[in-house]
């Protein structure tokens, strides 16, 4: 267990800046909309997958942070008490006590635990779905994390991963900006392109691996702020339009990657 212990200590030493509120304050409205669209995409996938099940599904949100996804889903269900009662058995796992202390919902489903993604305190085949939202590039050993996900998933269970695309067109256009940003992002231990993520899932024996990129609209900060001022409707329209065009013109080069894969039956 020493390996895991030291992983926690190493993780803690590098990720403590997450307590920094300045990052959250620095987000423009367009960036916030991007994060929201991410929750929408993930929510749609799990709704579709879990809609096929007879059992109440257990969703493990690994690296749930401040429980943004739980808060998003709760908000989706707030006008429908029946759906809320019958909703998923959500379990949020997060190594940072500080992040959990600032969580956006006090409780949801089974609740929250402080634990490591490399050592999930769940038995084999417990979960119907696992979410790794903007997490895998912060982990010391992504292969171990994927293997741990496979262990806790039921056969046929679904894994959804989202991560920043290191091979986006914007990073290809401005490689020096990307290099400068990377040197500042000490918490990002790995950088993934769509094929890297696909290979990781395939190497860990996941089945029916599907990968897509999105968030093609990326502008200098000043222009992003200006577009954000035009309001959420226009911003969303612009993001959707550029995503649709980007998928055709620049396949695989969007700013974010989303992966869906299944544990073999």
């Amino acid at each position: 267990m020493d390996g895991i212990n030291s992983t926690y200590q190493k993780w803690k030493s590098l990720q403590s800046h997450w307590e920094d509120e300045d990052f959250l304050k620095s987000l423009t409205s367009l960036m916030r909309l991007r994060y929201r669209r991410l929750d929408e995409k993930v929510g749609m996938i799990f709704r579709s997958e879990f809609g096929k099940l007879k059992d109440k599904p257990l969703l493990l949100d690994m690296g749930c942070g401040r429980a943004e996804f739980a808060a998003f889903m709760r908000n989706q269900w707030k006008d429908d008490p029946e759906q809320q009662r019958d909703a998923w058995n959500y379990l949020g796992l997060e190594p940072s006590a500080e992040q959990l202390g600032k969580r956006e919902v006090p409780t949801m489903g089974l609740g929250f635990i402080q634990a490591m993604a490399e050592q999930v305190p769940l038995p084999d085949m417990a979960a119907h779905g696992v979410l790794l939202k903007e997490v895998i590039d912060h982990c010391y050993d992504p292969v171990s994390v994927f293997r741990e996900v496979k262990r806790v998933l039921k056969p046929g269970g679904v894994l959804v991963v989202t991560v920043t695309n290191d091979k986006s067109y914007f990073k290809k256009l401005l490689p020096w900006v990307n290099r400068a940003n990377k040197s500042k992002q000490t918490d990002h231990l790995f950088f993934f392109g769509p094929e890297d993520l696909r290979k990781l899932a395939e190497a860990t024996q996941f089945d029916r691996v599907w990968v897509e990129t999105y968030n093609y609209l990326k502008l200098p900060r000043l222009l992003e702020s200006a577009l954000g001022l035009l309001g959420p409707v226009i911003s969303r329209w612009a993001l959707n339009l550029t995503d649709a065009a980007g998928k055709i013109l620049l396949p695989g080069l969007g700013g974010g990657i989303i992966l869906k894969a299944y544990k073999k039956q």
Binding site: M1, I4, N5, Y8, Q9, L58, L91, P95, A97, L100, G101, L110, G111, F112, I113, Q114, A115, M116, Q119, V120, P121, L122, P123, A126
Partner: protein, 53 residues
């Protein structure tokens, strides 16, 4: 602590069942004791109070 949650969790050190005892979570096999902080189980081996051998 939520019983439904406790029933599904296992010890991160040895994989055995857990129980709540004296406001901490204790492994039924290796006897590691994990704290509950602000209502949240802290299931980190680093933070466990190890059983005396």
């Amino acid at each position: 602590m939520n019983n439904e949650l406790l029933n599904i969790l296992i010890c991160p050190a040895c994989g055995s069942a857990l129980r709540e005892k004296d406001n901490v979570i204790e492994c039924t096999a290796c006897k590691n004791r994990y704290p509950i902080e602000n209502g949240i189980p802290v299931l980190l081996v680093d933070r466990a109070e190890k059983a005396k051998r």
